[in-house]
């Protein structure tokens, strides 16, 4: 029987586990990826700690986490509740708000660059011509991170709303009706019936948000490459730049380790929840 699991396990170990262990090891070596690695002790970590870009990247990861724990979650909760109230619109609207999630990140990134933020061809340009003076947020080190976050929020909130909606639909209609008969308005219903009703799903999504926020790479790499002036640099773009553009794989590995460390705490909670959940369902 165990042979059945072997191919999947073998591929997973060769592609993920072995290289992951090597990354952890490489963090303690000077290595350009091609030549012979030389023992470096903690030098990679010390260099990183002395690099202000590393600290601003780490800060940006924390800002990103804070944004994604709040903004898309709030939008999605409100929208899920609204869709619960409007069963006729549900199916069509659910597909529409899900759509951004299935469009490739590279394409979404370029569409926002050209059609929204561009001071020549985007909505920013259109607003400028009409007397609103807005500069390209992607060219501003202080605003670029938030501009990229806006793109990711567009891509993400609809998916989240669909997840919350399917959880809300498992709450019994009787419970909602009972609250209504007691005179509960939209807000009371939201606060005392809907949110508690989807608590396990909500907590899981918040934990996953923390995990993903420390891994965020694609949107930032595609839209700003961490720039301008490292304004939107996060740990993942920091690591990628060191590995492939600066030939310092040791440094990249060290950054990847720090990144994983933050995700690890959230992952531990995630695994614990999944395991207890799994034990109940089997």
């Amino acid at each position: 029987m165990w042979l059945f699991a072997l191919p999947a396990l073998l591929i997973n170990i060769c592609i993920i586990l072995v290289p992951a262990v090597l990354t952890f090891t490489a963090a303690f070596f000077m290595w350009d990826g091609v030549g012979k690695p030389a023992w470096a002790g903690l030098a990679n970590f010390q260099n990183m700690a002395a690099d202000p870009v590393f600290w601003s990247a780490l800060t940006n990861n924390f800002i990103w986490t804070a944004i994604f724990l709040t903004v898309p979650v709030c939008i999605a909760l409100v929208m899920a509740a609204a869709l619960l109230m409007a069963p006729n619109a549900r199916i069509v609207v659910q597909s529409i708000i899900f759509l951004p999630r299935i469009i490739a990140v590279a394409v979404t990134g370029r569409i926002f660059q050209g059609m929204i933020f561009s001071p020549a061809t985007g909505i920013v340009a259109w607003l400028n011509e009409r007397g609103f003076s807005i500069s390209d947020p992607l060219a501003d080190p202080d605003r670029s991170l938030y501009a990229v976050a806006a793109v990711d929020i567009w891509h993400w909130w609809g998916f989240l709303a669909v997840v919350f909606l399917s959880a809300m639909r498992q709450i019994s209609v009787d419970q909602i009706e009972a609250a209504r008969l007691d005179g509960a308005g939209f807000l009371a219903l939201f606060r005392y019936v809907l949110i508690p009703g989807i608590r396990p799903t909500l907590i899981l999504m918040l934990i996953l948000t923390v995990i993903w926020s420390f891994q965020v790479f694609e949107f930032i790499f595609i839209v700003t490459r961490g720039g301008p002036a490292y304004g939107s640099e996060v740990l993942a773009t920091f690591a990628y730049r060191h590995a492939f553009f600066e030939g310092d794989v040791g440094q990249a590995a060290a950054a990847a380790c720090v990144m994983s460390l933050f995700g690890l705490c959230a992952t531990a909670v995630y695994l614990w929840l999944q395991i207890t959940d799994d034990a109940q369902s089997t």
Partner: protein, 275 residues
């Protein structure tokens, strides 16, 4: 009917705003894909006065979309095939076997779902470079198989758990070997799960960026996403043509999504909704 009149009106207004904001960038992209760059520059929000379909033909030609779309299809179908072949038996075993060892394996696969690509990307790249596997489409499909199979295993495992054990026992009593039981009894019952897995894995492989952009560097093997990314990085002045390329790459996905919405939404939200 849930909700009073006021909250229904409020809900409809919210829903309208939300649907509009989700569609706006997509509509802008499609609309401007049919305009010249001069027209886009003068007013990105205006409807095209004349439909410039030639943007699509020039995008097709200049961006060499044909071959790169073919590469995307190759990567996606190879990944789907490998994930289905390896994940299905694995899901079945994980659904049936009890005990510490199998719990640990389940735990391991769960953990790899949350591992960041960055944690294994760099040694993997230089390892593959040494083995001459960079710029190889099957090698990329192999990496995708490792990345996407844990999701497939857990989705298929819920299907396997729903199959009554009595069915297998009956097959065993009739003298069926384990692989025969799997092939003739289990596999047919997991078919709907396999369709969902194929769709989600195919979508992920088609859209994937980090691995594709790192491991595929020649024009002779890049996927459509990487081709699009490289091209627009260099000449992002001809937005009409660029958007035409974007629409071409996204269109197959959107068509499949419209046809098979339920599988898409159920598959992608599976595991997220807790009861």
């Amino acid at each position: 009917m849930i909700g009073d009149r006021w909250s229904r009106t409020f809900s409809f207004a919210l829903i309208g705003v939300a649907a509009f904001s989700s569609l706006l960038p997509i509509v802008l992209a499609v609309m401007n894909a049919l305009k010249t760059t001069v027209e886009i520059g003068s007013n990105p929000l205006a409807l095209p006065t004349q439909l410039h379909w030639e943007n699509f033909s020039s995008a097709w030609r200049n961006a060499q979309l044909g071959p790169s779309l073919l590469h995307s299809a190759e990567v996606a179908s190879l990944t789907i095939l490998m994930v289905c072949i390896t994940a299905t038996p694995c899901a079945y075993v994980l659904a049936r076997q009890k005990g510490k060892f199998w719990r640990f394996i389940t735990f391991y696969f769960m953990a790899t779902i949350t591992v960041p690509v960055q944690l294994y990307l760099y040694p993997l790249y230089f390892m593959f470079a040494k083995l001459g596997l960079v710029n190889s489409i099957p090698a990329v499909a192999l990496i995708y198989t490792a990345m996407f199979s844990p999701f497939a295993i857990f989705l298929l495992r819920t299907y396997a758990l729903a199959i009554p054990v009595a069915l297998e026992e009956a097959a065993q009593v009739d003298g069926a070997k384990p692989w025969q039981t799997f092939w003739y009894v289990i596999l047919p019952m997991m078919r709907p799960g396999l369709l969902t897995v194929a769709i989600i894995v195919g979508l992920n492989a088609w859209n994937e960026f980090v691995i594709a952009v790192t491991f595929l560097q020649n024009d002779s093997n890049v996927t459509a996403i990487v081709r699009f990314y490289n091209l627009t990085g260099q000449y992002s002045t001809d937005w009409g043509e660029m958007l035409a390329a974007a629409v071409t790459i996204v269109l197959p996905i959107v068509v499949i999504f419209v046809l098979l919405q339920r599988q898409f939404i159920d598959g992608m939200t599976s595991g997220a909704v807790k009861s």
